[in-house]
Symmetry: C2
Subunit: 339 residues, 2 copies
């Protein structure tokens, strides 16, 4: 099948770019040095490609992601890098033989893990991002609480999410070292073999973590692209121009993608040679880019749209299409959506 | 079941508020005067309630919405108020006995409708919003093209979306009259019995359309609420506090809702007595509202979150829960998602 035969909107994953991204990261962080984060793509078929290049442990953000990975046979070592107050669904997976580890940062989340039948935890430590995670000073106490409930403590986790876009690189490295010093101090109190941290933005500078939780590198975001990372845009959204018109003297075109097919928290999407005016539920109105000299597309023509944020974009789609240029290779269900 | 037993994030629909919204709108626009837009909720169970108060024709934004409504037995008179370049799936529904009408605004979309097996169209007219729709001057020609292809032309449609938030009310009424004058002039050239327009923001002032396409009134948006419309917030997102902490001296809490459970195009959600700091994929960090005097919730407590935009929020969820206070009444699948 050719991509022209796909109904739009359609998420496209360019196989060569994806594979290059996976290979580049696997060279930098081989095997267990990377724990790919599946929240970035929510797709077990894509995770299978990450497994194929040597990463057999994965990071998840939701219970559903853990369940879906286990169901897909990718449950060798799943880390739910998030707190839960009801871990019973995780306990079912553990009882079925999957290795599931959950983050804890409080007495309540330790109790939930133990009560739910989970056997292994990591202590989540706040290293500067005001989100989940105990203070570094509390980490040892949380680990003791967990051991007191019969849980194995595999180590410490701390996501330096506030530093992903820090620039210049030397400053990012310095700030990452400071954040990881907090995590290493906590880890000294916690024990265990894991120091889990990092993301696509800091994968190259975070040399303190034993494993990096990067996810965005596989499909890549437009925001991350500004950092000059060696990963290409593997994901685009194929759209069809439904209508054209003029506002005053200014011509515009309307594509059939919008708020229900694009994650909008990072703003409007990008269209090559186009200037996006606004997005509605199922439409994006765009004009010609200034000075581009390009003609606006006509009704029925296809355009490629780059979402401003990949993660929430993927969560709006049932499937993505693996393509090689104009050729459609496979349909990959986005099977890890929901909670 | 009580709502405390629901896993979060969970979309809640308060039955009494929903029913009051449906009753209020049905009193203002009874029967065929309203063609409820299902894009706002993407839920056939909710559409069934709209049908029950007397509206048997519906507006859809996607082919999937049309298919889902037909499959649910709500296919008496479905208007796809959007252009399509491949209408074959609509033709299948028509052949099966459902009444499906599609919007056209160009020779290409007329050809697609005819080639796809659709038999009825409306001519979509641009009345000031730079999106789909031909110019008023072109409308008669498009109608002739359609008739020339054997299509019945049911009338004209023109959405004054740019006026939904116009204020004050008298100015909105004046601008709506201007926009509808364009639509009525086009309708005079087009013919047919329908003049389809309007939305929740203009439902009270648009006295020119023969039918109003409102959708948001059922669940209501925080933006629309600022207009003082007589519709209440029926929809909220139930969240659980996963973690708490302090940034410097300032305490915050973290709820388990974020970019993958909230439409973000209108900005951050609202939390009662809270001030949202930022949203991540699966988290919202918030502090106490200034001067609220309220305590921040503790780990494990539930909070209600109001999304800034209902339509794209609903599209991120598999289901919503109909509730009466603390009691869960029904699970309603969000069964019209996708394309």
């Amino acid at each position: 099948m050719k991509i022209d035969e796909l109904q739009t909107p359609a998420l496209l994953v360019e196989q060569s770019v994806l594979q290059a991204n996976l290979d580049t990261m696997a060279a930098a962080h081989p095997g267990a040095r990377l724990r790919p984060h599946v929240k970035a793509h929510k797709c077990t078929e894509l995770a299978r490609r990450q497994d194929a290049v040597g990463h057999h442990g994965f990071t998840c953000a939701t219970i559903r992601e853990v369940e879906g990975m286990a169901a897909a046979g990718l449950g060798t070592d799943l880390l739910l890098a998030n707190e839960v107050l009801d871990a019973r669904r995780l306990g079912v997976l553990v009882a079925a033989g999957h290795r599931v580890t959950v983050a804890v940062d409080s007495a309540e989340t330790v109790a939930a893990a133990a009560d739910g039948g989970v056997r292994e935890v990591v202590v989540d430590v706040n290293v500067g991002l005001p989100r989940c995670g105990c203070t570094p000073a509390e980490a040892g106490r949380i680990a003791d609480l967990a051991r007191g409930r019969g849980l194995a403590v595999r180590g410490a986790m701390g996501y330096e999410g506030h530093l992903m876009m820090a620039q210049p690189a030397a400053e990012q490295a310095r700030l990452t070292e400071e954040a990881m010093a907090l995590l290493l101090a906590a880890h000294a109190d916690v024990g265990g073999e894991l120091v889990s941290a990092g993301g696509t933005g800091t994968y190259a500078v975070n040399t303190w973590a034993t494993e990096i939780q990067a996810g965005s590198y596989a499909l890549m975001d437009t925001a991350y692209a500004e950092l000059g990372l060696p990963f290409g845009h593997a994901l685009s959204l194929l759209a069809t121009v439904l209508s054209t018109g003029t506002a005053g003297e200014t011509p515009y075109a309307v594509a059939d993608v919008g708020l229900k097919s694009l994650g909008m928290d990072h703003g409007n999407p990008t269209i090559a040679d186009g200037q996006v005016w606004f997005c509605s539920d199922e439409h994006t109105t765009f004009g010609a880019a200034e000075l581009s000299g390009a003609e606006l597309p006509t009704v029925g023509q296809r355009v490629r749209v780059l979402p401003a944020h990949v993660d929430p974009t993927v969560a709006l789609h049932e499937a993505m299409w693996l393509v090689d240029g104009e050729e459609v290779l496979q349909r990959w269900p986005v099977d890890l959506r929901g909670w």
